[in-house]
Each structure stands twice: as structure tokens, then as C-alpha cells.
């Protein structure tokens, strides 16, 4: 009796997120130039990447004025073995936090598989860009270990 009393239902919403002004400038330079544009707040001495239109510390108006990278440093990483439903992944996936040179903030992205690379905090990494870029975070395939 209890089970067939249960009422099934949904919250029928989907979302369309606009990238906003800051991310929009970041994506445009990624797509068109293959570069990573951030924003610098000179009064707080902080460079944000991706670009932002406000400084979270002082609310000053910022512009997309500082190109960062392309090289960067791995500040942390993890290896995923299960998906969001707790099912095993076909192959483990690695994600890392990367501070691009010149930025004070980090980007979350994939670490591309590479035989013999056991990531370590402090590793130097480089971005791998897609050739058919559309102006979205997927234009960046991920990071690989820097040569040498």
C-alpha cells in the first residue's frame, strides 16, 4: 500500500546559461586567438582568469586586459574512477587545477592521458587547444605535461 501511494513527479526545468561579459571575453579570445585573457585589479594586485568585469575583493570594474599563459603550473589534481552515478568509468580520468602563468586564480580542466606521466603538484603543463573552436570551455581539450 505504501509503495503505490508514492507520487512520482519532476521539476521540469532546463537552463540556458549565458557566459556573461567576463567569460564572454575569455571565450572570444580563446576561440579567435587561442589565448587566455584575464583581468587584473591593480588596487588588489590580483589577476583573475577567466576575465571578470568586477573584482570580488573591492568590486572595482575590471576589463579583459591581461593575457595569461599559455604555460601553467599544476596546483592540485585527482584521478576519477567512478562517474556521478557511482558507476565505474571505462578508464580513469584525471582532472587538475592549473595556474596559468600570470594568473592568481586556477582553471579546472582535464589532464590529458599520457603514458608515463604521474602528475605531481608543481608540474609544468601546457594547454592543448582544439582546431575547430567555438568559444566555449571545450575549446580547450585539456592540459598536457610541458616538454622538458
Amino acid at each position: 500500500m505504501t509503495d503505490d501511494r508514492r507520487i512520482d513527479g519532476t521539476l521540469p526545468v532546463a537552463f540556458r546559461y549565458t557566459p556573461g561579459l567576463g567569460n564572454g571575453a575569455f571565450f572570444a579570445s580563446l576561440r579567435d586567438e587561442g589565448t587566455f585573457v584575464g583581468s587584473r585589479c591593480s588596487s588588489c594586485d590580483v589577476t583573475y582568469l577567466p576575465a571578470r568585469v568586477f573584482c570580488e575583493r573591492c568590486l572595482a570594474e575590471l576589463r579583459p586586459d591581461t593575457t595569461c599563459g599559455p604555460g601553467g603550473t599544476l596546483t592540485s589534481w585527482t584521478t576519477l574512477h567512478v562517474d556521478v552515478d557511482d558507476e565505474p568509468l571505462p578508464a580513469p580520468e584525471r582532472y587538475g587545477l592549473v595556474r596559468l602563468d600570470g594568473a592568481d586564480t586556477v582553471l579546472l580542466h582535464r589532464l590529458l592521458p599520457e603514458d608515463g606521466w604521474d602528475p605531481a603538484i608543481g608540474d609544468r603543463v601546457v594547454p592543448v587547444l582544439r582546431s575547430d573552436r567555438e568559444g566555449r570551455i571545450g575549446d580547450l581539450e585539456g592540459f598536457s605535461r610541458a616538454a622538458g
Binding site: R6, R16, P19, C58, R136
Partner: protein
């Protein structure tokens, strides 16, 4: 209050919610002449997460609201949130916890697809009401019809509120739907959505943000010679069993208003409130609320609106901003916009919107959740030097980047995602027994021996006595129509071929109020309030223990006419 700022209200903003919040927060700080370093705490208001599509929206918005490294809390009381946010700010200052508080309210409803109403569907009881297919417009239409019918109101008088507010908004630089030449005929000729609600009776889906700066008395004196004081605050919630209430009068708004008036020392609100910003998501709601706020006698606000009493140059200017109907309705931001408008009005800075004379005290009110929340703030100049009442340039150059529908749909870098939220609700003990009764062809009520009420929908506790209900009673499957609507659209705004007829039905044998169901086997033109109806049960073998075991209600046999 020492500063206020806002974005432009737009239908679809390119900016993210954080960016909108930052624009408004920065404008408010500039208006107050201070930097973020002077702010001790941040109070944020934002309505359901499901509008922006960001879970834990408060945390998400925090850095755009200037809360980095500061005490921060997001408050939420439905549509009442915008006017609650400064209440939260007020007690944060009045308690001595902070000298300067930044209040920010934000909403980005354009994110929600296909229509923000989807986010509202779960406000209805998932077990007793939602299988009937309700949408948000039902509750407004049902309330509006009850209000109109009880007092014999002319819809033309109600439509005059939409005209007034959209005309007022034509003078607001942030407005989405200002229209100087709109007429009552335009409103009455607009598409019927859920009778009596028509398209131009309703405020628009909007994106935007608003911010204020509040300061302790001694600090305010160092920041401005023209502070506006929060003199009284009040808020109040009624039960979510909304069909049990008489929808004709918002008692919870009266309770909230009395709380604020008492704190402010307002004993004769009709004389002592000089300008008001009642909550106007629908035109009739402004009138409904003006009565709950004790500013007009019950049933008399529509006539006053018609006669110009609430016009910008009337005896009691109401929504001189243009309100939600004209400026727009990014839910929480719209409520806080009303507070910002009072700030500008009381400082004589409202420019083309400035009400005449020297207003010394104003009131803002918002409303929300399931027809149950009233939030009220009374603000004034204490007769001090704030009231310069000179026509100055409005301290407002609102920005926000408005995207057209095609621009929105093709925006580079935009990301689409489905929420995919699926739930299985257990009805619980009382509603479960109610559903079992329906399977047997019985309508069962719980009873409270302390207050004597006989309750449908049944619940395990009496929300008034706050004790367990202590008995069961069967009530009749006949009753009378308390209110109804002819709804012509689905929740995602698709046209229905045949209108649905939702109704609140007062069952014989219950002590008060009614419950929600559909009418059928009746010509929509023949439905009227007070009509006697009876349940049409599904055949016994087809019942499932669901509210849909009653297929609908139809005119009772003895009421079928000659």
C-alpha cells in the same frame, strides 16, 4: 539607508547573475560614497535557485554581491524576499553586529527554460494538488476572481493599476515595460491567460539586481546629511493550506503591516504614509495589498485607483516607480527596487518620478510563497533635512545588456543543460489515509478538538494550535464553488484547445475553506461562484488512491436548473 543602486531590468541579460549583482552593488556603494572596505556584512535576497539554475544561489552570488571575506547570508521568503532583504539588513545593524551592511537582491529568470513557471510547479502540494495539473496563474486567477466577485468589482478599475504603473515606469531609466500611452482598453483587450487574468494584468519575466547600503545611526551621520531611516519592519506568514483561507483578504499582510506600523509609531497609516510601493506582480495584487496594509477599506482600493487617488500626483501615490508591472519583475530584485524607490522619493531625488510635496514617510511591501507571505518596511526622514524635495537628476544610470530572443538563442559560449530532477513523494500519514479514502469513494478530513476545525486537505497536525489533529470525519462529496478560473494556457504558456476550469470547492461538512479541483460537465459560461457541485467519481475498479479518483466536480443535480 545611505545609498541605493540598480541595474536596468531586462528580459534577457547577457550578464551573469554575479555580474548583475556587482553592477548594482557598486552603484549603491558609489551612491553612499563609500568603498567595499567599509562594509561589515552583506545580506542577499534571491528567489528560487531554479530560476537562475544555480543550486545554492546565495553562495554563488556572494562574490558579485561584495561578500568576499565577510559575514554573509542569503534570505528567501518567496516573492516577499526583496522587501525582507532590508529587514535582514536592518536587524544586522540594529543588533549591533555591523555598522554598515550591503543589501543585494538578484534574479536571472531568463536562464529557466522553457518557462520559469516550471520552477513554480512544486509550490503546489505534490500529492493533493499537483496531479490536477495546476500552474502558477491558477492561484492568481482564483484569488482575483474571488476578490472581484466578493466586492462586485469592475475589471476596468483593476486594469487602471496596470495602466498607472506602466505609465509611471515610462519615467524610470531602468524600466523594462514603461509605456506612456497605454490605455485601460489595451489591458482589457490583451490575451486572456487564465480568466480573469489577462496578459497585461501580469508583470514580465525579468533579469536584474538592486542594492542598498544601510548604516548604524552614528555612522550614517558621517556619510550623509540626508539619510532615510528604516522606522519599522514587519513580516508574517500564513498557512500553505491556501485553499482553506478566504482569498478575498490577505490577513498576513495586515499582520505584517501592523508589526511595522507599531515599530514606526504609525497610528493613522492613511495620514502618516505619504508614498507607497505595494507589491504588484498582478494589477489586482496592488489593490489587494493596499487593503491589507490598511491604507484603504476592504473592497475600496479599486475605486480609489480609478479615481486617481493612487496616481503619482494623487493623495496617496502608489508605485510611483512603475512597480513590477512597469519596471519589471526579477523577483527579489523587484522587491528591493521598491525600497530603492522610496529612498529616492524621500530624498527628493526621483526626478521625473518625484511625487509632489514633501513626503516624509513611505511604505514598501512584498508578498510571496504560496499566497502566504507579507513583508513590510516603513521608511522615513524623521522630518529631518533629508526632504529637499527638489527636482534633481536621478542618481541612476542603470546598465545591463539586453539580449533579443535570437541573440539569446545564439549567444556564443552559452551552455544548455537539463535539470533532470525526478522525485518520488510519499504522501505521509494524513494525506495517505485521505488517498486511501478516495479509493473507497470517501472524502476524509482530520479534526482538531482544540479549535474545532474539520480539515480538508487533512493533515497530521493543526497548524494553528500546533498540536496533532485528533480525529477523522467523513465529509460530503458535494459543496459549493468559492472561486474558479477559466485557464487557457499550460504552465509553459501553450494554448489549451479547451479551457480548464480550476476551482476552490468548499465541501459540505468542512469547517472552513475548500480544496482545489477541476470542474467539468459544464459550459464554462455557466460557472459561477456559489454554484453547488458534486464529485464525479471514477469507477470503483479504476481508482488508484489519487486525487484523480475524483475525475472532476460537476453542477449538483438539484442545481442543474429547469
Amino acid at each position: 539607508m545611505v545609498g541605493a543602486g540598480m541595474t536596468r531590468f531586462v528580459r534577457r541579460a547577457q550578464e551573469t547573475g554575479k555580474e548583475l549583482s556587482a553592477i548594482a552593488a557598486r552603484a549603491a556603494l558609489e551612491s553612499a560614497g563609500i568603498g567595499l572596505d567599509r562594509v561589515d556584512a552583506v545580506c542577499l535576497g534571491s528567489a528560487p535557485d531554479a530560476f537562475d539554475g544555480v543550486h545554492r544561489k546565495g553562495d554563488y552570488l556572494a562574490d558579485g554581491a561584495g561578500a568576499w571575506g565577510k559575514p554573509f547570508l542569503r534570505a528567501y521568503v518567496g516573492g516577499g524576499t526583496g522587501v525582507f532583504t532590508p529587514i535582514q539588513g536592518w536587524y544586522t545593524v540594529a543588533s549591533g553586529m555591523a555598522d554598515v551592511v550591503l543589501c543585494v537582491a538578484e534574479e536571472k529568470m531568463s536562464s529557466c527554460q522553457p518557462h520559469p513557471q516550471g520552477a513554480f510547479l512544486t509550490i503546489f502540494d505534490n500529492v493533493i494538488e499537483r496531479p490536477l495539473g495546476p500552474n502558477l496563474l491558477w492561484i492568481f486567477a482564483l484569488e482575483m476572481n474571488r476578490y472581484m466577485s466578493t466586492y462586485g468589482l469592475d475589471k476596468r478599475d483593476i486594469a487602471s493599476v496596470a495602466v498607472k504603473n506602466k505609465r509611471n515606469a515610462a519615467d524610470h531609466p531602468a524600466a523594462l515595460l514603461g509605456q506612456a500611452d497605454i490605455t485601460t482598453d489595451d489591458v482589457l483587450a490583451s490575451e486572456v491567460l487564465a480568466w480573469p487574468v489577462q496578459r497585461l494584468d501580469v508583470s514580465p519575466i525579468s533579469d536584474g539586481a538592486v542594492a542598498l547600503v544601510l548604516a548604524a545611526e552614528d555612522v550614517a551621520a558621517t556619510l550623509t546629511d540626508r539619510p532615510v531611516w528604516i522606522q519599522g519592519v514587519g513580516w508574517n506568514l500564513d498557512t500553505t493550506y491556501w485553499t482553506n483561507r478566504d482569498l478575498v483578504y490577505p490577513e498576513y499582510v495586515e499582520h505584517a503591516a501592523r508589526m511595522a506600523y507599531d515599530m514606526a509609531g504609525v497610528t493613522e497609516p492613511r495620514k502618516q504614509i505619504h508614498v507607497a510601493e505595494p507589491y504588484d506582480p498582478f494589477d489586482y495584487k496592488e489593490l489587494h495589498h493596499l487593503e491589507g496594509l490598511l491604507l484603504f477599506d476592504k473592497g475600496m482600493a479599486p475605486e480609489a485607483a480609478r479615481d486617481g487617488v493612487t496616481a503619482r500626483d494623487g493623495d496617496l501615490p502608489c508605485c510611483p516607480s512603475g512597480g513590477l508591472l512597469g519596471v519589471g519583475n526579477p523577483i527579489a530584485a523587484a522587491g528591493l527596487m521598491k525600497i530603492a524607490e522610496l529612498f529616492w522619493q524621500l530624498r527628493g531625488e526621483a526626478g521625473a518620478r518625484q511625487v509632489p510635496g514633501t513626503p516624509e514617510r513611505g511604505l514598501a511591501q512584498a508578498w510571496g510563497d504560496l499566497m502566504q507571505v507579507g513583508t513590510v518596511v516603513v521608511m522615513g526622514t524623521d522630518g529631518g533635512p533629508a526632504t529637499t524635495a527638489t527636482a534633481t537628476t536621478p542618481p541612476l544610470a542603470p546598465t545591463a545588456t539586453s539580449l533579443s530572443d535570437p541573440e539569446f538563442l545564439t549567444a556564443s559560449g552559452a551552455v544548455d543543460t537539463a535539470f533532470d530532477g525526478r522525485y518520488r513523494w510519499d504522501p505521509g500519514a494524513a494525506a495517505g489515509a485521505f488517498l486511501d479514502g478516495l479509493r473507497e469513494g470517501r472524502i476524509r478530513a482530520t479534526t482538531c478538538s482544540a479549535c474545532g476545525r474539520i480539515l480538508v486537505p487533512p493533515r497530521a497536525f493543526c497548524e494553528r494550535c500546533f498540536r496533532p489533529t485528533d480525529g477523522w470525519a467523513d465529509v460530503a462529496d458535494t459543496g459549493s464553488v468559492e472561486t474558479f478560473s477559466l485557464c487557457r494556457i499550460t504552465w509553459d504558456m501553450r494554448q489549451l484547445d479547451d479551457p480548464e476550469i480550476p476551482a476552490v470547492i468548499r465541501l459540505d461538512g468542512t469547517s472552513e475553506g475548500g480544496f482545489l479541483h477541476l470542474l467539468g460537465d459544464v459550459d464554462p459560461d455557466d460557472v459561477r461562484i456559489g454554484m453547488r457541485v458534486e464529485a464525479v467519481w471514477r469507477p470503483e475498479g479504476e481508482r488508484e488512491g489519487s486525487i484523480l479518483d475524483i475525475a472532476h466536480f460537476r453542477p449538483a443535480a438539484q442545481d442543474a436548473g429547469p
